[in-house]
Protein backbone atom coordinates (compact mmCIF):
# COMPACT_ATOMS: atom_id res chain seq x y z
CA UNK A 1 0.00 0.00 0.00
CA UNK A 2 1.21 3.42 -0.92
CA UNK A 3 -0.11 6.51 0.84
CA UNK A 4 0.17 9.92 -0.77
CA UNK A 5 -0.16 12.60 1.89
CA UNK A 6 -1.76 15.86 0.81
CA UNK A 7 -2.30 19.32 2.17
CA UNK A 8 -6.08 19.60 2.17
CA UNK A 9 -6.73 22.73 4.19
CA UNK A 10 -5.06 25.96 5.22
CA UNK A 11 -6.15 28.73 7.56
CA UNK A 12 -4.48 31.98 8.48
CA UNK A 13 -4.89 35.12 10.54
CA UNK A 14 -2.29 37.76 9.79
CA UNK A 15 -1.62 41.47 9.57
CA UNK A 16 -3.61 41.43 6.33
CA UNK A 17 -6.65 40.27 8.31
CA UNK A 18 -8.42 36.96 8.70
CA UNK A 19 -8.05 34.45 5.91
CA UNK A 20 -5.60 33.07 3.38
CA UNK A 21 -7.15 35.09 0.53
CA UNK A 22 -6.34 38.59 1.85
CA UNK A 23 -2.85 37.38 2.73
CA UNK A 24 -2.22 36.05 -0.79
CA UNK A 25 -3.66 39.18 -2.39
CA UNK A 26 -1.50 41.36 -0.17
CA UNK A 27 1.60 39.33 -0.81
CA UNK A 28 1.10 39.42 -4.58
CA UNK A 29 0.53 43.18 -4.47
CA UNK A 30 3.97 43.60 -2.93
CA UNK A 31 2.53 45.98 -0.33
CA UNK A 32 3.55 45.06 3.18
CA UNK A 33 1.20 45.29 6.15
CA UNK A 34 3.86 46.25 8.69
CA UNK A 35 3.48 49.44 10.67
CA UNK A 36 3.77 51.00 14.11
CA UNK A 37 2.09 49.02 16.86
CA UNK A 38 -1.31 50.05 18.14
CA UNK A 39 -2.39 47.50 20.72
CA UNK A 40 1.24 46.59 21.48
CA UNK A 41 2.45 50.21 21.53
CA UNK A 42 2.80 50.49 25.31
CA UNK A 43 4.54 47.16 25.88
CA UNK A 44 7.79 47.29 27.89
CA UNK A 45 10.79 47.34 25.58
CA UNK A 46 8.89 48.36 22.47
CA UNK A 47 10.51 51.35 20.73
CA UNK A 48 8.25 51.96 17.79
CA UNK A 49 9.61 49.40 15.33
CA UNK A 50 7.26 48.24 12.56
CA UNK A 51 5.25 45.16 13.50
CA UNK A 52 2.58 43.04 11.87
CA UNK A 53 -0.41 43.48 14.17
CA UNK A 54 -3.66 41.73 13.33
CA UNK A 55 -6.31 44.35 12.54
CA UNK A 56 -9.94 44.29 13.61
CA UNK A 57 -10.08 40.98 15.40
CA UNK A 58 -12.39 40.32 18.33
CA UNK A 59 -11.01 37.50 20.48
CA UNK A 60 -14.39 37.27 22.26
CA UNK A 61 -12.93 37.03 25.70
CA UNK A 62 -10.38 34.33 24.87
CA UNK A 63 -6.64 34.82 25.10
CA UNK A 64 -5.65 36.16 21.68
CA UNK A 65 -3.33 33.24 21.04
CA UNK A 66 -6.15 30.72 21.41
CA UNK A 67 -8.56 32.93 19.45
CA UNK A 68 -6.16 33.31 16.50
CA UNK A 69 -5.48 29.58 16.50
CA UNK A 70 -9.17 28.74 16.69
CA UNK A 71 -9.98 31.08 13.78
CA UNK A 72 -7.19 29.63 11.65
CA UNK A 73 -8.29 26.06 12.37
CA UNK A 74 -11.89 26.92 11.47
CA UNK A 75 -10.76 28.30 8.10
CA UNK A 76 -8.55 25.27 7.45
CA UNK A 77 -11.49 22.98 8.18
CA UNK A 78 -13.74 24.97 5.85
CA UNK A 79 -11.20 24.79 3.05
CA UNK A 80 -10.87 21.06 3.65
CA UNK A 81 -14.69 20.70 3.71
CA UNK A 82 -14.59 19.33 7.23
CA UNK A 83 -17.43 20.59 9.44
CA UNK A 84 -15.85 18.60 12.26
CA UNK A 85 -12.60 16.71 12.59
CA UNK A 86 -13.08 12.95 12.29
CA UNK A 87 -12.78 10.71 15.36
CA UNK A 88 -9.18 9.85 16.04
CA UNK A 89 -7.82 12.96 14.34
CA UNK A 90 -4.54 14.23 15.69
CA UNK A 91 -4.14 17.92 16.51
CA UNK A 92 -0.52 19.05 16.82
CA UNK A 93 -0.35 22.34 18.71
CA UNK A 94 2.83 24.32 18.18
CA UNK A 95 4.12 26.96 20.54
CA UNK A 96 6.75 27.87 23.08
CA UNK A 97 5.36 25.73 25.88
CA UNK A 98 2.14 23.88 26.53
CA UNK A 99 -0.40 25.98 28.40
CA UNK A 100 -2.03 24.19 31.28
CA UNK A 101 -5.70 23.47 30.75
CA UNK A 102 -7.67 26.15 32.52
CA UNK A 103 -4.65 28.44 32.47
CA UNK A 104 -3.11 27.38 35.78
CA UNK A 105 -1.22 30.30 37.26
CA UNK A 106 -0.69 32.17 34.00
CA UNK A 107 -1.44 35.89 33.96
CA UNK A 108 -2.68 37.75 30.89
CA UNK A 109 0.73 38.45 29.40
CA UNK A 110 2.04 34.95 30.06
CA UNK A 111 -0.89 33.52 28.11
CA UNK A 112 0.63 35.07 25.01
CA UNK A 113 3.93 33.25 25.57
CA UNK A 114 2.50 29.85 26.54
CA UNK A 115 0.01 27.82 24.58
CA UNK A 116 -2.19 27.64 22.65
CA UNK A 117 -4.04 25.55 25.16
CA UNK A 118 -5.07 21.96 24.63
CA UNK A 119 -8.60 23.26 25.24
CA UNK A 120 -8.62 23.81 21.48
CA UNK A 121 -8.87 20.02 21.23
CA UNK A 122 -12.00 19.09 19.31
CA UNK A 123 -14.05 16.24 20.77
CA UNK A 124 -12.46 12.88 20.10
CA UNK A 125 -9.16 14.27 18.81
CA UNK A 126 -5.76 13.41 20.20
CA UNK A 127 -3.42 16.28 20.99
CA UNK A 128 0.35 16.63 20.98
CA UNK A 129 2.34 19.79 21.66
CA UNK A 130 5.51 20.51 19.73
CA UNK A 131 8.15 23.16 20.50
CA UNK A 132 10.88 23.82 17.93
CA UNK A 133 11.19 27.60 18.13
CA UNK A 134 10.34 29.36 14.86
CA UNK A 135 10.50 26.10 12.91
CA UNK A 136 7.79 24.45 15.00
CA UNK A 137 5.04 24.29 12.37
CA UNK A 138 7.38 22.75 9.78
CA UNK A 139 8.55 20.14 12.30
CA UNK A 140 4.87 19.46 13.03
CA UNK A 141 4.17 18.87 9.34
CA UNK A 142 7.02 16.36 9.27
CA UNK A 143 5.59 14.61 12.34
CA UNK A 144 2.10 14.71 10.80
CA UNK A 145 3.44 13.03 7.69
CA UNK A 146 5.03 10.31 9.79
CA UNK A 147 1.83 9.79 11.79
CA UNK A 148 -0.32 9.54 8.67
CA UNK A 149 2.08 7.18 6.97
CA UNK A 150 1.98 4.94 10.02
CA UNK A 151 -1.81 5.00 10.14
CA UNK A 152 -1.71 6.52 13.62
CA UNK A 153 -4.46 9.01 12.75
CA UNK A 154 -6.90 9.49 9.87
CA UNK A 155 -6.07 13.18 9.62
CA UNK A 156 -3.72 15.64 11.27
CA UNK A 157 -4.25 19.34 11.94
CA UNK A 158 -1.23 21.48 12.75
CA UNK A 159 -2.37 24.54 14.68
CA UNK A 160 -0.70 27.45 16.42
CA UNK A 161 -0.59 31.17 16.89
CA UNK A 162 1.70 33.99 17.81
CA UNK A 163 0.71 37.16 19.62
CA UNK A 164 2.90 40.21 20.04
CA UNK A 165 4.02 40.09 23.64
CA UNK A 166 6.79 41.59 25.74
CA UNK A 167 8.51 38.27 26.36
CA UNK A 168 9.09 37.12 22.80
CA UNK A 169 9.84 40.68 21.74
CA UNK A 170 12.55 40.86 24.40
CA UNK A 171 13.81 37.43 23.34
CA UNK A 172 14.46 38.69 19.80
CA UNK A 173 15.63 42.11 20.89
CA UNK A 174 18.26 40.83 23.31
CA UNK A 175 20.00 38.96 20.49
CA UNK A 176 19.82 42.16 18.41
CA UNK A 177 17.59 40.54 15.83
CA UNK A 178 14.82 43.18 15.76
CA UNK A 179 15.02 45.64 12.85
CA UNK A 180 14.43 49.33 13.47
CA UNK A 181 12.77 49.58 10.05
CA UNK A 182 10.45 47.15 8.29
CA UNK A 183 12.10 43.81 7.53
CA UNK A 184 13.80 43.58 4.12
CA UNK A 185 14.49 39.89 3.48
CA UNK A 186 17.44 39.29 1.12
CA UNK A 187 18.11 43.02 0.74
CA UNK A 188 21.71 44.19 0.92
CA UNK A 189 20.59 46.76 3.52
CA UNK A 190 18.53 44.39 5.66
CA UNK A 191 18.97 44.84 9.39
CA UNK A 192 16.78 42.29 11.06
CA UNK A 193 13.36 40.93 11.86
CA UNK A 194 9.96 42.58 12.12
CA UNK A 195 7.74 40.66 14.47
CA UNK A 196 4.21 39.84 13.53
CA UNK A 197 1.30 37.98 14.99
CA UNK A 198 -1.50 35.75 13.84
CA UNK A 199 -2.73 32.20 13.70
CA UNK A 200 -2.11 29.37 11.33
CA UNK A 201 -3.44 25.90 10.63
CA UNK A 202 -2.90 23.25 8.01
CA UNK A 203 -4.67 19.93 7.55
CA UNK A 204 -2.93 16.87 6.18
CA UNK A 205 -4.47 13.56 5.21
CA UNK A 206 -4.21 10.87 2.59
CA UNK A 207 -5.15 11.78 -0.97
CA UNK A 208 -7.82 9.07 -1.03
CA UNK A 209 -9.50 10.45 2.05
CA UNK A 210 -9.43 14.02 0.73
CA UNK A 211 -10.92 12.95 -2.59
CA UNK A 212 -13.85 11.32 -0.78
CA UNK A 213 -14.98 14.85 0.10
CA UNK A 214 -14.58 16.10 -3.44
CA UNK A 215 -11.24 17.84 -2.89
CA UNK A 216 -8.66 18.02 -5.65
CA UNK A 217 -6.00 16.43 -3.45
CA UNK A 218 -3.41 17.91 -5.75
CA UNK A 219 -0.94 19.31 -3.20
CA UNK A 220 1.28 16.44 -2.15
CA UNK A 221 3.41 16.85 0.95
CA UNK A 222 6.08 14.95 -0.89
CA UNK A 223 9.04 15.29 1.44
CA UNK A 224 10.05 16.67 4.80
CA UNK A 225 13.26 16.89 6.73
CA UNK A 226 13.81 18.26 10.19
CA UNK A 227 17.06 18.43 12.14
CA UNK A 228 18.26 19.79 15.43
CA UNK A 229 21.91 20.69 15.10
CA UNK A 230 24.42 23.42 14.58
CA UNK A 231 27.32 24.94 16.43
CA UNK A 232 25.55 28.07 17.66
CA UNK A 233 22.13 28.37 19.29
CA UNK A 234 21.04 31.58 17.55
CA UNK A 235 22.66 31.38 14.12
CA UNK A 236 21.71 29.49 10.98
CA UNK A 237 24.08 26.66 10.12
CA UNK A 238 24.52 26.62 6.33
CA UNK A 239 25.39 22.91 6.39
CA UNK A 240 22.24 21.99 8.31
CA UNK A 241 20.07 24.15 6.07
CA UNK A 242 21.52 22.56 2.94
CA UNK A 243 21.16 19.09 4.43
CA UNK A 244 17.47 19.69 5.14
CA UNK A 245 16.76 20.92 1.62
CA UNK A 246 18.67 18.03 0.07
CA UNK A 247 17.06 15.39 2.29
CA UNK A 248 13.51 16.68 1.83
CA UNK A 249 13.92 16.78 -1.95
CA UNK A 250 15.38 13.27 -1.93
CA UNK A 251 12.49 12.02 0.18
CA UNK A 252 10.14 13.60 -2.33
CA UNK A 253 11.93 11.82 -5.15
CA UNK A 254 12.31 15.23 -6.77
CA UNK A 255 14.99 15.88 -9.33
CA UNK A 256 13.92 19.50 -9.68
CA UNK A 257 13.31 22.53 -7.50
CA UNK A 258 11.01 25.10 -9.06
CA UNK A 259 10.48 27.49 -6.16
CA UNK A 260 11.58 28.17 -2.59
CA UNK A 261 9.43 30.00 -0.08
CA UNK A 262 12.26 30.93 2.19
CA UNK A 263 12.46 31.34 5.93
CA UNK A 264 14.32 34.63 5.23
CA UNK A 265 13.51 36.80 8.22
CA UNK A 266 15.73 39.67 7.16
CA UNK A 267 18.75 39.01 9.35
CA UNK A 268 22.14 39.36 7.72
CA UNK A 269 23.51 35.98 8.76
CA UNK A 270 20.34 33.92 8.36
CA UNK A 271 19.42 35.11 4.88
CA UNK A 272 22.98 34.63 3.63
CA UNK A 273 23.10 31.07 4.95
CA UNK A 274 19.80 30.24 3.31
CA UNK A 275 20.81 31.73 -0.03
CA UNK A 276 24.01 29.69 0.06
CA UNK A 277 21.96 26.54 0.63
CA UNK A 278 19.59 27.28 -2.27
CA UNK A 279 22.55 28.04 -4.53
CA UNK A 280 24.21 24.74 -3.58
CA UNK A 281 21.08 22.66 -4.16
CA UNK A 282 20.28 24.43 -7.44
CA UNK A 283 23.79 23.62 -8.62
CA UNK A 284 23.39 19.97 -7.62
CA UNK A 285 20.14 19.81 -9.60
CA UNK A 286 21.65 21.76 -12.49
CA UNK A 287 18.87 24.33 -12.16
CA UNK A 288 19.88 27.66 -13.72
CA UNK A 289 17.68 29.84 -11.53
CA UNK A 290 15.24 29.22 -8.67
CA UNK A 291 12.59 31.86 -7.86
CA UNK A 292 12.85 32.58 -4.14
CA UNK A 293 10.50 34.67 -2.05
CA UNK A 294 9.66 35.44 1.59
CA UNK A 295 6.56 36.80 3.32
CA UNK A 296 8.27 38.25 6.39
CA UNK A 297 8.57 41.78 5.01
CA UNK A 298 4.81 41.67 4.48
CA UNK A 299 3.31 40.35 7.74
CA UNK A 300 6.36 40.01 9.96
CA UNK A 301 7.69 36.90 11.62
CA UNK A 302 4.97 34.72 13.15
CA UNK A 303 7.56 32.74 15.14
CA UNK A 304 6.35 29.21 15.98
CA UNK A 305 3.64 29.25 13.33
CA UNK A 306 5.65 31.05 10.63
CA UNK A 307 5.80 27.98 8.39
CA UNK A 308 2.04 28.16 7.85
CA UNK A 309 1.99 31.41 5.87
CA UNK A 310 4.96 30.00 3.97
CA UNK A 311 3.10 26.76 3.18
CA UNK A 312 -0.06 28.67 2.26
CA UNK A 313 1.88 30.85 -0.18
CA UNK A 314 3.80 27.91 -1.66
CA UNK A 315 0.55 25.97 -2.10
CA UNK A 316 -1.04 28.88 -3.93
CA UNK A 317 2.08 29.36 -6.04
CA UNK A 318 1.79 25.74 -7.11
CA UNK A 319 -1.89 26.10 -7.94
CA UNK A 320 -1.68 29.47 -9.70
CA UNK A 321 1.87 29.04 -11.11
CA UNK A 322 2.58 32.51 -9.76
CA UNK A 323 5.39 33.46 -7.41
CA UNK A 324 4.75 36.61 -5.37
CA UNK A 325 7.43 39.23 -4.78
CA UNK A 326 9.23 39.71 -1.47
CA UNK A 327 7.78 42.82 0.16
CA UNK A 328 10.55 45.02 1.53
CA UNK A 329 13.17 43.82 -0.93
CA UNK A 330 14.73 46.56 -3.05
CA UNK A 331 18.33 45.56 -3.79
CA UNK A 332 18.87 41.79 -3.56
CA UNK A 333 22.02 40.31 -2.14
CA UNK A 334 23.76 38.68 -5.09
CA UNK A 335 23.41 34.89 -5.11
CA UNK A 336 24.09 32.45 -7.90
CA UNK A 337 21.15 30.52 -9.32
CA UNK A 338 18.64 32.56 -7.29
CA UNK A 339 16.03 34.94 -8.67
CA UNK A 340 13.79 37.20 -6.58
CA UNK A 341 10.67 38.18 -8.53
CA UNK A 342 10.02 41.93 -8.16
CA UNK A 343 6.30 41.56 -8.83
CA UNK A 344 3.91 38.63 -9.02
CA UNK A 345 5.42 36.54 -11.77
CA UNK A 346 4.06 33.56 -13.73
CA UNK A 347 6.17 30.39 -13.77
CA UNK A 348 4.19 28.03 -16.03
CA UNK A 349 6.29 24.98 -15.22
CA UNK A 350 6.13 25.33 -11.46
CA UNK A 351 5.52 21.92 -9.90
CA UNK A 352 7.88 21.40 -6.94
CA UNK A 353 8.24 23.96 -4.15
CA UNK A 354 10.24 23.89 -0.94
CA UNK A 355 9.37 25.71 2.27
CA UNK A 356 12.21 26.40 4.67
CA UNK A 357 11.79 27.09 8.36
CA UNK A 358 14.49 27.66 10.97
CA UNK A 359 14.69 28.59 14.62
CA UNK A 360 16.87 29.15 17.64
CA UNK A 361 18.30 26.06 19.24
CA UNK A 362 19.54 24.63 15.94
CA UNK A 363 16.04 23.89 14.63
CA UNK A 364 16.02 23.43 10.84
CA UNK A 365 13.24 22.08 8.64
CA UNK A 366 12.23 21.87 4.99
CA UNK A 367 8.89 20.72 3.60
CA UNK A 368 8.57 19.91 -0.10
CA UNK A 369 5.21 20.33 -1.81
CA UNK A 370 4.45 18.98 -5.25
CA UNK A 371 1.41 19.64 -7.40
CA UNK A 372 0.04 16.40 -8.85
Amino acid sequence: MNRRIVLSGTGLVSAYGSGVAPYWDGLCSGRGALGPARRFADAPGYRGEPVGEVPEFDPRGEPRKSAYARAALAEAQRSARLPVLPPGALVILVGQAPAPEGGGQLDGEEWELFGPSAELRPDGAAVLHLSHACASAAFAVALARTALAAGAAPLVAVVGASVLNRYEYASMDVVRAVARTAARPFDVDRDGISLGEGGGAVILETADRARERGLRADLTVAGAACRVGGKLPAASDPGAVTDCLRTALAEAGADRLDHVHAHATGTAQGDTAELAAVTAIAAELDTPEVPVTSHKGAIGHLLHISAVPALAAAALSLRTRIVPPTPGLTTPEPADRVHHPRAETPYPGLRVAAVNSFGFGGNNATVVLRRD
Binding site: M1, N2, R3, R4, I5, L90, Q96, A97, P98, P100, E110, L113, F114, A118, A126, V127, L128, H129, L130, S131, H132, A133, F139, A142, L143, R145, T146, A147, L148, A149, A150, G151, A152, A153, R166, Y167, A170, S171, V174, V175, T220, A222, C226, R227, V228, G229, G230, K231, P233, A234, D243, E251, A252, G253, A254, G359, F360, G361, G362, N363
Partner: protein
Protein backbone atom coordinates in the same frame (compact mmCIF):
# COMPACT_ATOMS: atom_id res chain seq x y z
CA UNK B 1 5.31 0.37 24.20
CA UNK B 2 7.66 -2.55 23.54
CA UNK B 3 11.11 -1.22 24.11
CA UNK B 4 14.75 -2.13 24.23
CA UNK B 5 17.55 -1.04 26.57
CA UNK B 6 17.03 2.02 28.76
CA UNK B 7 19.60 4.46 30.13
CA UNK B 8 19.17 7.14 32.78
CA UNK B 9 21.24 10.04 34.10
CA UNK B 10 20.63 12.97 36.42
CA UNK B 11 21.67 16.60 36.28
CA UNK B 12 22.04 19.11 39.08
CA UNK B 13 24.70 20.66 41.30
CA UNK B 14 27.71 18.40 41.95
CA UNK B 15 26.50 17.44 45.41
CA UNK B 16 23.24 16.23 43.91
CA UNK B 17 24.05 14.67 40.54
CA UNK B 18 26.92 13.58 38.31
CA UNK B 19 26.05 15.79 35.35
CA UNK B 20 26.40 19.56 35.54
CA UNK B 21 23.51 20.37 33.18
CA UNK B 22 20.42 18.73 31.70
CA UNK B 23 22.14 18.78 28.28
CA UNK B 24 25.11 16.86 29.72
CA UNK B 25 22.83 14.21 31.20
CA UNK B 26 20.97 14.01 27.89
CA UNK B 27 24.24 13.59 25.99
CA UNK B 28 25.31 10.71 28.20
CA UNK B 29 22.11 8.73 27.80
CA UNK B 30 21.73 9.41 24.08
CA UNK B 31 25.26 8.23 23.41
CA UNK B 32 24.47 4.98 25.22
CA UNK B 33 21.08 4.48 23.59
CA UNK B 34 22.15 5.19 20.00
CA UNK B 35 25.08 2.80 20.44
CA UNK B 36 22.48 0.04 20.85
CA UNK B 37 21.02 0.71 17.40
CA UNK B 38 22.34 -1.06 14.33
CA UNK B 39 25.27 0.96 13.05
CA UNK B 40 23.61 1.79 9.75
CA UNK B 41 20.58 3.23 11.58
CA UNK B 42 22.34 5.46 14.09
CA UNK B 43 22.92 8.55 12.01
CA UNK B 44 19.33 8.89 10.76
CA UNK B 45 17.26 7.20 13.48
CA UNK B 46 14.43 9.42 14.75
CA UNK B 47 14.66 10.90 18.22
CA UNK B 48 11.43 11.56 20.12
CA UNK B 49 11.90 13.80 23.16
CA UNK B 50 9.13 13.98 25.76
CA UNK B 51 9.92 17.23 27.50
CA UNK B 52 6.73 19.18 28.20
CA UNK B 53 7.50 19.66 31.88
CA UNK B 54 10.98 20.98 31.08
CA UNK B 55 9.63 23.19 28.28
CA UNK B 56 7.12 24.82 30.64
CA UNK B 57 9.88 25.23 33.25
CA UNK B 58 12.16 26.93 30.72
CA UNK B 59 9.38 29.33 29.76
CA UNK B 60 8.60 30.16 33.42
CA UNK B 61 12.31 30.68 34.12
CA UNK B 62 12.55 33.05 31.17
CA UNK B 63 9.50 35.03 32.33
CA UNK B 64 11.16 35.34 35.74
CA UNK B 65 14.32 36.70 34.15
CA UNK B 66 12.34 39.25 32.16
CA UNK B 67 10.96 40.54 35.46
CA UNK B 68 14.28 40.40 37.34
CA UNK B 69 15.32 43.99 38.07
CA UNK B 70 18.72 42.92 39.41
CA UNK B 71 20.19 41.85 36.07
CA UNK B 72 19.82 42.62 32.40
CA UNK B 73 18.32 40.05 30.12
CA UNK B 74 21.06 38.16 28.25
CA UNK B 75 21.18 36.47 24.85
CA UNK B 76 21.70 33.18 26.67
CA UNK B 77 18.36 33.70 28.44
CA UNK B 78 16.70 33.89 25.05
CA UNK B 79 18.25 30.73 23.65
CA UNK B 80 17.77 28.85 26.95
CA UNK B 81 14.04 29.10 26.29
CA UNK B 82 14.34 26.48 23.61
CA UNK B 83 14.02 22.82 24.57
CA UNK B 84 16.14 22.02 21.51
CA UNK B 85 19.08 23.19 23.61
CA UNK B 86 18.69 19.94 25.54
CA UNK B 87 19.82 17.95 22.52
CA UNK B 88 21.61 20.34 20.12
CA UNK B 89 25.11 19.80 21.53
CA UNK B 90 24.71 16.03 21.34
CA UNK B 91 23.13 15.89 17.87
CA UNK B 92 25.87 18.17 16.53
CA UNK B 93 28.76 16.30 18.14
CA UNK B 94 27.34 12.89 17.26
CA UNK B 95 26.58 13.84 13.67
CA UNK B 96 22.94 12.87 14.12
CA UNK B 97 21.01 13.76 10.96
CA UNK B 98 17.71 12.07 11.76
CA UNK B 99 14.41 13.69 12.62
CA UNK B 100 14.04 15.00 16.14
CA UNK B 101 10.73 15.93 17.75
CA UNK B 102 10.37 17.79 21.06
CA UNK B 103 6.97 16.76 22.31
CA UNK B 104 4.45 16.80 25.06
CA UNK B 105 0.94 15.52 25.45
CA UNK B 106 -1.12 12.94 27.27
CA UNK B 107 -1.90 11.17 24.01
CA UNK B 108 1.70 10.24 23.25
CA UNK B 109 1.57 6.91 25.13
CA UNK B 110 -1.25 5.78 22.84
CA UNK B 111 0.10 7.29 19.61
CA UNK B 112 3.82 6.84 20.21
CA UNK B 113 4.04 3.13 19.39
CA UNK B 114 2.39 3.82 16.04
CA UNK B 115 4.34 6.92 15.16
CA UNK B 116 7.72 5.81 16.46
CA UNK B 117 7.31 2.16 15.54
CA UNK B 118 7.97 2.62 11.84
CA UNK B 119 11.73 2.29 12.24
CA UNK B 120 14.40 1.96 14.91
CA UNK B 121 14.21 5.05 17.09
CA UNK B 122 15.08 6.45 20.50
CA UNK B 123 12.70 8.04 22.98
CA UNK B 124 14.11 10.48 25.49
CA UNK B 125 12.05 11.34 28.57
CA UNK B 126 12.97 14.41 30.58
CA UNK B 127 11.64 14.51 34.13
CA UNK B 128 12.05 17.69 36.11
CA UNK B 129 13.19 16.74 39.61
CA UNK B 130 13.93 20.11 41.16
CA UNK B 131 13.41 23.44 39.44
CA UNK B 132 14.66 25.47 42.42
CA UNK B 133 18.31 24.48 42.01
CA UNK B 134 20.69 26.84 40.18
CA UNK B 135 21.15 24.01 37.71
CA UNK B 136 17.76 22.36 37.22
CA UNK B 137 17.65 18.84 38.51
CA UNK B 138 16.52 16.63 35.64
CA UNK B 139 16.32 12.92 35.06
CA UNK B 140 17.03 12.01 31.45
CA UNK B 141 15.96 8.54 30.36
CA UNK B 142 16.70 7.28 26.86
CA UNK B 143 14.89 4.20 25.64
CA UNK B 144 15.72 2.26 22.50
CA UNK B 145 12.60 1.59 20.42
CA UNK B 146 13.11 -1.20 17.90
CA UNK B 147 11.00 -0.98 14.75
CA UNK B 148 7.68 -2.72 15.34
CA UNK B 149 5.33 -2.06 12.51
CA UNK B 150 5.29 -2.94 8.87
CA UNK B 151 4.08 0.45 7.73
CA UNK B 152 2.85 1.47 4.33
CA UNK B 153 5.33 3.40 2.31
CA UNK B 154 4.75 7.11 1.96
CA UNK B 155 4.48 8.14 -1.65
CA UNK B 156 6.99 10.84 -2.46
Amino acid sequence: MTSGPRFSARSGPPEHAPHPSPAAAVGAVLTAAFAELPEQARERAPLYVLCGEYTAFAARRYVGRCHDDTRRLRPSDSTALEPAELVRAWTTAAGHHGPCFLLDGPDWPALGPWIAGREDAVQLDITLLDDRLPVPGCLATATVLPALLACPEVAG
